[in-house]
């Protein structure tokens, strides 16, 4: 019993600590789904002065496949939250073929000597309107994930990670999971899914360093605070796969690196 009590107390503590984080990245359903989570921003604030920045836009060629509409008639609570029938978020395209929800991270090149600044506030994933918000996001190794249910109906959230311990827990009512889930090993990507609502899925990239970002609705991303060096940067998309590029950073310069996926 002691173990559990402790974990409960611990989670209480975390809850209070993370309350700030919540505001910054608990996105409402209508808002842009791919809002970059706090940790991506946090290091940028602290160490952008010392270090270079990689920014870019992500586009795709061809026509994006249609996102299937979701029939939520089983869940009135969710259905009510949408004026028109909602769709899945497999490919979220912005104006001029901009591609959102792409996870961009530094795959290799970060010097072993590099010491990452302490992770910022823990990210929160919200189950709202029978969809996950955010749909794609990053988390630092050692951070825990706050799981929130704003629907008040049963969701279960199942993480099928390889490097990270899989979990499968449920929230029957409007609540925040008392025990936040830790991520202990780098892994791109861990899939999150709800088995009660087959269409619900989200992806989380677990990284040891703060050098990752998620492209916004306009397809743009920015990774900052990179020490000088040559990096392999990878862009991951759930439908279009991955693309890599090599970027060399000298001093505090700011490089631009765009990615273009082919919609097939």
């Amino acid at each position: 019993m002691k173990v559990r009590i402790l974990s409960v107390v611990g989670s209480m503590f975390l809850l209070t600590v993370c309350s700030k984080g919540n505001q910054s990245n608990a996105a409402p359903p209508a808002a842009e789904p791919g809002a970059p989570p706090a940790p991506a921003a946090a290091p940028a604030a602290t160490s952008s002065a010392a270090g270079g920045t990689v920014t870019g836009k992500i586009k795709f060629t061809g026509t994006a496949p249609r996102n299937p509409t979701i029939d939520m008639s089983d869940e009135a609570a969710c259905k009510a939250k949408y004026p028109t029938a909602p769709t899945e978020e497999n490919v979220v395209a912005g104006p001029a073929n901009a591609l959102a929800n792409v996870f961009v991270y530094v795959k290799s090149g970060v010097p072993a000597s590099y010491t990452a600044p302490a992770p910022g506030a823990n990210p929160v994933i919200d189950q709202n309107g029978c969809r996950y918000h955010p749909h794609v996001f990053g988390i630092r190794v050692g951070q825990t994930l706050q799981i929130k249910n704003s629907d008040g109906i049963l969701h279960n959230i199942k993480a099928t990670g390889k490097a990270n311990r899989p979990f499968n827990v449920s929230e029957p009512t409007t609540m925040t999971m008392p025990a936040p889930r830790p991520f202990s090993a780098p892994e791109v990507m861990v899939k999150l899914e709800c088995n009660v609502h087959g269409w619900m899925n989200a992806y989380v990239g677990v990284r040891p360093d703060p050098f990752y970002a998620v492209s916004g609705p306009d397809g743009s991303f920015s990774i900052s605070g990179l020490p000088p060096g040559t990096y392999t940067i990878e862009a991951w998309h759930e439908k279009f796969g991955t693309q890599t590029a090599t970027v060399t950073i000298a001093g505090t310069e700011s490089k631009t690196q765009n990615f273009t996926f082919a919609a097939h």
């Binding site: 049963l154 199942k158 899989p166």
Partner: protein, 596 residues
């Protein structure tokens, strides 16, 4: 338990009699005396009975008031019931562990662990079990198994979540059940328990065959011992099968084997076949001893010989035999070949025959009797009437077409509780009261016992009878919230009613617990033969000394010679088995066994 201290250390032939006087530890903790071991089993399994009951209360809360915070539930860890609201995964842990504890760690040890140990040597005139030390180990292993199972609540992800039947692949794959450690604990615990109960059964069988007092011929053996003997045989043959299955399950969970995982060519139904091949004999392990002890009590309470002793014995054997060829009736809906279903249906229906024989013979025993309604008798009669309902409701599910709408609904829940609670537990209330003086040298309070019986009888029926109806209404087993189904909404009031009755039923049991504990110290001292019974055990002081008899008793007649002319001649209505009348000849001791 302090009263067993009267056991005379020097007593002849008993387990450890030769190094007397014994320390407290030898006498009560690491005792090899079958009576002490029985009492140890009694206390442990009553504890697990309480645990199982508490789990049941939480189940009933959730079913009656889905999603409402449970009173006092807030003390539960957040991972089970945040703010007292039971989580679906915790609910499944509840149903799983309620079944597991009640079947494996409450009813089974109460019937077999307690009364096979306590009664067999006393009733057949043996000084102790054949293998006292193995007997001691069987208790300690059972306790260990129970603790391993109990630990499941305190490991990450909580207790097992696959139902007490542990259907694979749900039980075999952590990614599907959402629980890792505790599933393994379940398997380990069952393997240990199997070991314990095989040790016990080896003891019981050997003792009954080899250690009967002179004159205790097979057809003078009391029915309780007959039932326990047959039960032991079932145990020896059934438990190892479950052990084998549990080991395969454990390997699936930990070594990456694929016995029950279709992904790699395993077979999901294999688990069900193995489990129920054990599981149905197990059902009879859970009822036969109860039948045996009820036979004793009814004969005693009616002051009449048991009606049709021989057919009672053959009915026990018949039930035990049929128990091996009916396991498929748990799998009518499982996708098993329907033709097999037909055969299993017939064999299952036939079990009604020996069961009917027993019920009618009990009635025949009471017919034109001189019924004394002491507490054991009340509970025994309660057993007969409730077991009848349980047996009859079984026929609905044995008839395969009717089973289709009833299978895996609350109807089966009602059925199993009419057999295990209305059956086994009523028998146990009777048995505990009946042999309490033999165990502790004091009587349990008669008035309290009667109040407890009547209140239990009423609240019990209020709790479980309506389950038949909501089962017919189609409410599936093990669902967390019936109210999300339109066809179940109308009967929710009945669920609420059941829940209230269940809480009352639980409260009434505290009365029994009080009576049991209070009488240990303050119960009135028991006369040597408080129930005017014929059994050999009553020829001993209460409680019986270590090693039982100074000199092995001779047996002159069957166990149920109530109201016989000889008895009348003595101005009583009973005739102890070991009482030598002038007309009796001493039985010859059988020749010593040829070793080779």
């Amino acid at each position: 338990m302090t009263h067993v201290a009267h056991a005379k250390p020097g007593a002849h032939g008993g387990g450890d009699a030769h190094h007397a006087p014994m320390s407290f530890w030898q006498k009560y903790i690491f005792s090899t005396d079958h009576k002490i071991i029985g009492i140890q089993f009694l206390f442990v399994s009553l504890f697990f009975l309480l645990v199982g009951g508490l789990l049941a209360m939480q189940i009933r809360w959730q079913l009656g008031f889905p999603g409402k915070p449970m009173p006092g539930g807030s003390i539960l860890p957040q991972t089970m019931a945040p703010g007292g609201v039971i989580l679906p995964e915790y609910y499944i842990q509840l149903v799983t562990m309620h079944g597991t504890f009640m079947v494996f760690f409450a009813i089974m040890p109460l019937l077999v662990g307690v009364y096979a140990n306590f009664l067999i040597p006393l009733k057949i005139g043996a000084h102790d079990m054949a293998f006292p030390r193995i007997n001691m180990w069987s208790f300690w292993l059972a306790l260990l198994a129970g603790l391993i199972m109990f630990a499941g609540f305190f490991v990450p992800d909580g207790a097992p979540r696959a139902g007490w039947t542990m259907y694979a692949p749900l039980s075999a794959r952590p990614d599907l059940s959402g629980v890792g450690v505790a599933q393994k604990l379940w398997s380990v615990s069952i393997v240990v328990l199997g070991l314990s109960s095989v040790m016990g059964s080896v003891n019981y069988i050997t003792t009954v065959i080899n250690h009967r007092a002179p004159g205790m011929t097979w057809f003078r053996i009391p029915l309780s011992v007959w039932a326990l003997f047959i039960t032991a045989i079932l145990g020896v043959l059934a438990l190892p099968v479950l052990q084998g299955a549990a080991i395969m399950l454990l390997f699936d969970q930990s070594l990456g084997t694929h016995f029950f995982d279709p992904v790699a060519g395993g077979q999901a139904l294999l688990w069900q076949h193995l489990f129920w091949f054990f599981g149905h004999p197990e059902v009879y392990i859970l009822i036969l001893p109860a039948m045996g002890m009820v036979s004793e009590i009814i004969a005693n309470g009616s002051r009449k010989p048991i009606f049709g002793y021989h057919s009672m014995v053959f009915a026990i054997i018949g039930i035990a035999f049929l128990g091996w060829i009916v396991w498929g009736h748990h799998m009518f809906m499982s996708g098993m070949n329907p033709t097999l279903g037909s055969t299993f249906m017939v064999s299952t229906l036939l079990i009604a025959v020996p069961s009917a024989i027993k019920v009618f013979n009990w009635m025949g025993t009471m017919w034109r009797g001189n019924l004394r309604f002491h507490v054991p008798m009340l509970n025994a009669v309660g057993f007969v009437s409730m077991f009848t309902i349980g047996g009859l409701s079984g026929i609905f599910m044995a008839a395969t077409p009717v089973d289709i709408p009833l299978h895996d609904t609350q109807f089966i829940v009602a059925h199993i509780h009419y057999v295990l609670f209305g059956g086994s537990l009523f028998a146990l209330f009777g048995a505990i009261t009946f042999w309490y003086p033999k165990m502790f040298g004091r009587m349990m309070s008669e008035p309290l016992g009667k109040v407890h019986f009547w209140l239990t009888f009423i609240t019990y029926n209020m709790t479980f009878f309506p389950m038949h109806i909501i089962g017919m209404g189609g409410q599936m087993r093990r669902i967390y919230d019936p109210t999300i189904y339109d066809f179940l909404k109308p009967q929710q009031p009945l669920n609420v009613f059941i829940s209230y009755s269940a809480f009352a039923l639980f409260a009434v049991q505290l009365l029994f617990a009080f009576n049991f504990l209070w009488s240990l110290k303050f119960g009135k001292k028991a006369p040597q033969n408080p129930w005017d019974d014929n059994g050999l055990e009553w020829s001993l002081p209460n409680p019986a000394p270590h090693g039982n008899w100074e000199k092995t008793p001779n047996v002159y007649r069957g166990p149920y010679e109530f109201s016989s002319p000889e008895a009348e001649a003595r101005g009583t209505d009973f005739l102890p088995q070991s009482l030598k009348l002038p007309t009796d000849h001493d039985p010859l001791p059988a020749p010593l066994p040829a070793t080779h």
